[in-house]
């Protein structure tokens, strides 16, 4: 619904905030600016794609503290932290706290815009894989308990015969379940099904020796 990503600027200094908006807007990006971490959180909606350009030093909730809060949300957009020049300890802390990157002030516009571009790409990818995962999960929910078992065993690399023995079923029945699994998961190939299992973090028992 919101295809155009937004660059969220959070900075308490009005001149920095406005000038950043002006610069980022000049390459046609959609920009929203907030004068504090609190104001940003107030308006925050994790369904909106974008990235956050965040001043590390702010009165009230600091940039790092805001990051800590966002860390809890896996849908949170990537954060570019703006630090003072030579503030290496702060930069290290930012990266450890999960920042996408940090930029030293005053920065080159080229560098800033590139980083924003990369952060937006990252966000796009994250959202795509998140959507993909949600879709696969939705499909997996439609499997019956028996089908789920067969699914887990086959993606672990077990032959139908082994699965049959394991579950006390005939090989024929296993084949039928397996076909249902393929259909419900909309897997085009066995490799496809294994990929979905990886996304779902389904791990069956290791392949038995035949």
């Amino acid at each position: 619904m919101n295809s155009q990503p937004t660059v969220f600027i959070v900075d308490d200094d009005p001149a920095m905030r406005d000038s950043l908006g002006f610069l980022i807007g000049s390459v046609g990006r959609k920009v929203e600016a907030y004068d504090s971490a609190e104001a940003f959180l107030e308006a925050y909606d994790n369904e909106r794609p974008g990235c956050i350009v965040l001043d590390v030093r702010m009165p009230g909730l600091s940039g790092l503290e805001l990051m800590e809060k966002l860390q809890e949300d896996r849908f949170a957009p990537p954060v570019l932290l703006v630090t003072g020049h030579g503030d290496i300890p702060m930069a290290v802390r930012a990266l450890k706290a999960g920042a996408f990157d940090f930029i030293e002030k005053p920065f080159s516009d080229q560098l800033l815009l590139e980083r924003i571009q990369q952060a937006l790409q990252q966000d796009d990818q994250d959202r795509a894989s998140e959507r993909n995962r949600a879709e696969i999960e939705r499909r997996a929910e439609r499997l019956t308990a028996r089908e789920r078992e067969v699914f887990e065993l086959v993606v672990a690399g077990n032959a139908n015969k082994v699965v049959a023995t394991e579950l006390g079923l005939s090989q024929k029945t296993v084949e039928v379940h397996r076909a249902h699994v393929m259909e419900k998961m909309r897997a085009e190939s066995f490799a496809d099904l294994v990929k979905m299992a990886v996304v779902l973090e389904v791990t069956g028992p290791p392949r038995s020796t035949e």
């Binding site: 200094d13 001149a15 920095m16 406005d18 000038s19 950043l20 002006f22 610069l23 807007g25 000049s26 390459v27 046609g28 030093r57 009165p59 009230g60 600091s62 790092l64 800590e68 003072g84 020049h85 030579g86 503030d87 300890p89 702060m90 802390r93 450890k96 706290a97 002030k105 005053p106 920065f107 516009d109």
Partner: protein
Amino acid sequence: MTGDRASVPAGRPTARRHEAPGDAVDRVLRVDIPLPLALDAPPEALVEAILRDGIVGSADPSFAVLFGCSPSKTIEGRRLADLEGFWMTKAPERLVELASRGFEDREIFLSEIDASGEHRTKRVRLKAEIDDEGLHALWCFERDVAVNGAVPPPMSAEEERRITVARAARLTALDEMTSGIAHELNQPLAAIVNYANGCIRRLERDGVNDRALNDALESIVVQSRRAAEIVRLMRSCTRRTADKREPHSLSTILRSAIDFAAAPLERASVHVETHFVDGHDEVVIDSGQITQVTIHLLNNAVDALETLPEGRTRTIRVETRIARDESSRPMVEVDVVDSANGLSDVDAPRIFEPFYTTRDHGLGLGLTASRAIIESHGGQLRLCRKDASSSETRFRFTLPLRQPPSTP
């Protein structure tokens, strides 16, 4: 004593070598270090001069060389301040040269006959240091080493400690100024660069092809960056470089800081309670700097408590505990808590801003500098948010706990 050397134009012509603009900036700033050193004399030489009212009475030849005079020129009868100025314009090259020869620090002696006719010899320490920011020089006048030929008794440990703290205080004061100015200037400069770059991109986007306009905008960017660079260099020149980090028990440092603040504490009838963690609380710190930070927090608390009416309990609690930071490093947490009425909601969010002060004295840079010190040690300094029921003010700083060497 430094006169208005800061106004030396950056673009002063020089025959020595071709200089990039950055070099010139660099040179002016280095020249402006009030602590020059240049020693053509062999390092082990004793450099000595006798001054009367700031005028050189007699000097040994190496002193003349040190102060930029060729041995053939007479140095006697000249004002030290003039020589220094003369000499300082040459200082940076010499510093580089000295540094390349592994120069670290050395002492010179200045003898002066003061107004009362006493002949004092001062020990002056010259120190050059190189770090990744470039070269720094320090020049510290130390105490009299002799008065009328008599050598004063050796310093007591207490006296030495006082001198260390006093030196840290001076350096901190200078650092406070420059870091405050640097921050305040960097913000508008960065904004100017953003606006100008935004204009360039918008003109390009809209297909406006005005060469002169574009050039002017580019110049705004270049000149603002140049200003920012000057600010940065100014900062790196005054930054504390005599940073001596050693393992210390934090509680020992805190106790000595409380001792130092004894006079103001007593004057304001403030009682200090300490609750220190038992056992291992070793941190690798510059003890002078951390003492400074602690004294600053104590003084802040005293100022707040002094506003309380007579009869109210005036207590400061200093507490330590072991905690982990956001990347699970073990830290020592130090809380300085006062029982005053707490900071107002207006002041609380702003107290770390440079030049923000709630007192009628002071520059409003103490907390800014304290925070810089703590962060340079890998810790954090913050004001803990008070809960509604409590009227206390709690500042907390953290320092990485020293890992015992035996840890695998």
